[in-house]
């Protein structure tokens, strides 16, 4: 049974991630009053990219993309989705904490091998942004762990289903707000789209990616969307008893994120850092203190 889940979970995540990418383009188009591409457009793009001849710029260029993709797939195995939780055990949260930083690192290693100046600017932005959202994220996760007295996401989900969602309960309310504030940075959507700014640095770390490398990077981007939202749904929206409800909750969160994406312009990197280390970190710290006081 567990083997089936180990195979099923990445495939499901892949499908949902590609669906999210297609939905993003369609919804953005409808907001612009355009008709928009078919919802399968990212899948068509990936098929086209795999069939193109691709140029590698070195061993690290090839391995970095695969490394990043592998990190995302490992993360998915540790995230419970509804009842599907292949490898979640007592310390799942710690694995997520560690591996979550490795996925941008793989893209950074790979893009650095190409030695394109645009790629190095994109990489420095990507790692700086990761540093920006990791600080509030750590505080938020610490608050959640302290409140539920466990490191296992499965236990957190089941505890939320017995009582109420963490976002609507008092001690974790502020932590949930802080997570919502950093969610666009984790997903890399518009106010924090600084890493892949196509207009200023020619899509950043992706600048030398073509053919199957770009296809793998696109798939990784889809999985990254999946991971950021799934973690939020699991920790603050009470997870779900079965996969369809879980994916429905993810869809709602993602569409709300898309509206933010459509409404806001792109920040500069130092504005993003100032924002991330000021408001979400402050709110997360206050939430943490509230959790500690209530536990006493």
């Amino acid at each position: 049974m567990r083997i089936v889940e180990v195979i099923l979970a990445p495939i499901l995540a892949l499908l949902i991630g590609m669906f999210f990418l297609g939905l993003a383009r369609k919804i953005m188009a409808r907001i612009h009053w355009r008709y928009g591409p078919p919802i399968t457009q990212p899948v068509i793009d990936v098929i086209r990219l795999f069939s193109q001849k691709s140029v590698s710029h070195g061993n690290m260029f090839t391995l970095g993309v695969l490394f990043s993709l592998a990190c995302s797939l490992v993360l998915i195995l540790f995230l419970p989705m509804g009842k599907i939780c292949p490898l979640s055990s007592s310390g799942g949260m710690l694995v997520i904490l560690y591996v979550m930083l490795l996925a941008p690192f793989g893209i950074a290693l790979s893009g650095g091998e190409a030695a394109n100046p645009n790629a190095s600017i994109g990489i420095s932005r990507k790692l700086t942004l990761a540093l920006g959202y990791e600080v509030p994220l750590l505080v938020i996760l610490l608050a959640v762990m302290t409140h539920y007295k466990t490191l296992s996401i499965v236990n957190i989900v089941s505890m939320q289903q017995n009582t109420s969602w963490a976002l609507t309960s008092l001690p974790l309310f502020l932590s949930g707000i802080a997570y919502i504030l950093i969610l666009p940075a984790i997903l890399g959507i518009r106010p924090f789209e600084i890493t892949q700014a196509a207009q200023e640095i020619s899509s950043g770390p992706m600048v030398e990616y073509g053919g199957s490398f770009l296809a793998l990077a696109t798939i990784q981007h889809g999985l990254n969307l999946f991971i950021g939202i799934a973690l939020f749904v699991n920790l603050f929206l009470g997870g779900a008893g079965n996969p369809p409800i879980f994916f429905l909750k993810m869809l709602v969160v993602f569409v709300l994120g898309l509206f933010i994406n459509a409404a806001l312009p792109r920040l500069r990197i130092e504005q993003a850092m100032r924002y991330l280390w000021r408001w979400p970190t402050l709110i997360a710290f206050i939430g943490m203190i509230i959790v500690l006081i209530i536990r006493r």
Partner: protein, 189 residues
């Protein structure tokens, strides 16, 4: 998507992928680029057909040469074209790349772009309307279906001729040949 397309997708997924995901390199080669922003934004919305602009030649497979080509721009065009990954399609947009257009007697513009890089299709007019780009895209679909959009293959098989034309214009080229030249010359001889 109608039922005929499902069979086509199963038979040749790569070809259908090339058809419906044309990523155009956003390279402002001349005055014709002014027609591209309306095409990709809300008024004409090229994304319906899967045509979107991308920032780098590595991610692209459609190259729109929009407007006149000066000698200096041609150098950049050739290098951009050679960087694009292999099934790639080129469309000359406007009269200038076809025969020089209104710059027919200029000392500094290219009269026939087809001598330097292979072109899969032309859009005539000065300026062509944005609708002409959609007509060109649908024509390109037909060409891809019939395997007639083979500019990249022609570039490979006739590379020594294209290279000779480029060298005739620029003198010594700064970059090494994309394909080995000696084999082709030997094959001819």
């Amino acid at each position: 998507m109608d039922r005929n397309q499902i069979i086509k997708w199963l038979k040749a997924p790569a070809k259908m992928g090339h058809k419906y995901s044309l990523h155009a390199i956003y390279f402002c080669t001349g005055c014709g680029i002014i027609e591209v922003p309306p095409v990709i934004t809300a008024r004409w919305d090229a994304e319906r057909f899967g045509v979107i602009p991308v920032a780098t030649p590595r991610q692209a497979n459609l190259f729109l040469i929009t407007g006149y080509v000066s000698v200096k721009t041609l150098k950049a065009i050739i290098r951009t074209y050679e960087q694009m990954p292999s099934p790639k399609f080129t469309v000359g947009f406007g009269s200038c790349p076809i025969n020089g257009g209104m710059y027919w007697d200029s000392y500094n513009t290219i009269k026939r772009l087809d001598k330097y890089i292979p072109i899969d299709g032309w859009i005539a007019g000065c300026m062509p309307r944005p609708e002409a780009i959609f007509v060109a895209v649908t024509h390109l679909w037909t060409l891809i279906d019939k395997d007639m959009a083979d500019g990249y293959k022609r570039y490979r098989s006739n590379y020594h001729l294209y290279r000779a034309n480029q060298e005739q214009l620029f003198g010594e080229l700064e970059w090494p040949p994309l394909f080995p030249l000696e084999d082709q010359v030997e094959q001819i001889a």
